[in-house]
Amino acid sequence: MERLDGAMRARSRAMDAIVLLAIALLIALAIVEVLASRASAGGPSAKNVAAPWAPHIGRVDQALAQKNFSAAVRAWGDAYGAALGSRRWEGMIEVGDAYLRIGDGLAYRRAFVAKAREAYLAALFRARHQRSLEGVLRAAEAFAALGDRQVVAQCLTIAKDLAGRDPKAQALVQAQASRFSDPSITAGTLRIEP
């Protein structure tokens, strides 16, 4: 009889544990769902976590619209720091582009090309390290816009390597290579597509 009682108590404890576990699981699922819905709603906080440099780039452009170049450089410094810390290629591309826009605003683009190029190189290194075909092709676009054809060729070599045997990826690289080799495309006319 005692053995039966003991077995029933043990079973009851096991049932309690299962019920508690199920409740915990339901709460965890509810939290995940709330977070996912916030992220898909694209609220500012979710967006900023995804691209911490983006708000600063926005400030660069606002400052440029007001011809406030000091504020633009300050905001650019913040964007650079955020992009550097994110360890992502996208940030370095955007920082490079923003730097060129500051140069354009000052009507002094040529002097600003060198640092933009450094940012694009950092983006290329990161993209290759992360095996991101998109990143390498975005870097290629950026170098093409600078008229840096030798580096574009190098980017395409890396892109071909990353595409491997994936026919879709190979087609994408081939399409970009054709665009870059088009003689009608001159430096500064290429634009990064959204």
Partner: protein, 135 residues
């Protein structure tokens, strides 16, 4: 050519560029002595020029810092060279140069120095606006 050699590609024919190309090759082959020697030659070629060469040479110095054990010393040297570029830009009253140096200081995390550059640039811009208004 491998990716590490991309930094050596340059279409500029400024007198310091050939030295910087040598420097980048030395950095790629992890040769600190060769890199520092080439960097000094680049500095010597740029120092007689305007702020722009000094900014390029200072940025290049940061790249030597990719060699393990050299980062701190190279950032300090880059900072000194940006400082020289700041004086040169101020002397030339180049607002563009001051903005460039400010951004360069920002990349080193030297916000106070960047602010100093921006303050000088703003004062030049204000003076320019005043003289335009007076004219």
């Amino acid at each position: 050519m491998n990716i590490e050699e991309i930094e050596m590609i340059s279409e500029s024919n400024a007198p310091w560029m050939s030295h910087l190309e040598l420097m980048d090759r030395a950095v790629a082959s992890r040769d600190p002595d060769g890199a520092i020697r080439a960097w000094r030659d680049a500095y010597a070629a740029a120092v007689g020029d305007g702020w722009q060469g000094l900014v390029e040479v200072a940025s290049a110095c940061v790249r030597i810092g990719e060699i393990p054990g050299f980062r701190k010393a190279c950032e300090a040297k880059a900072r000194q060279t940006y400082w020289t570029a700041l004086f040169r830009a101020r002397q030339e009253r180049s607002v563009e140069g001051l903005y460039q140096v400010a951004a360069a200081f920002e990349t080193l995390g030297a916000r106070a120095m960047a602010e100093e550059c921006l303050r000088i640039a703003e004062s030049f811009t204000a003076e320019g606006s005043d003289s335009e208004a007076a004219g």
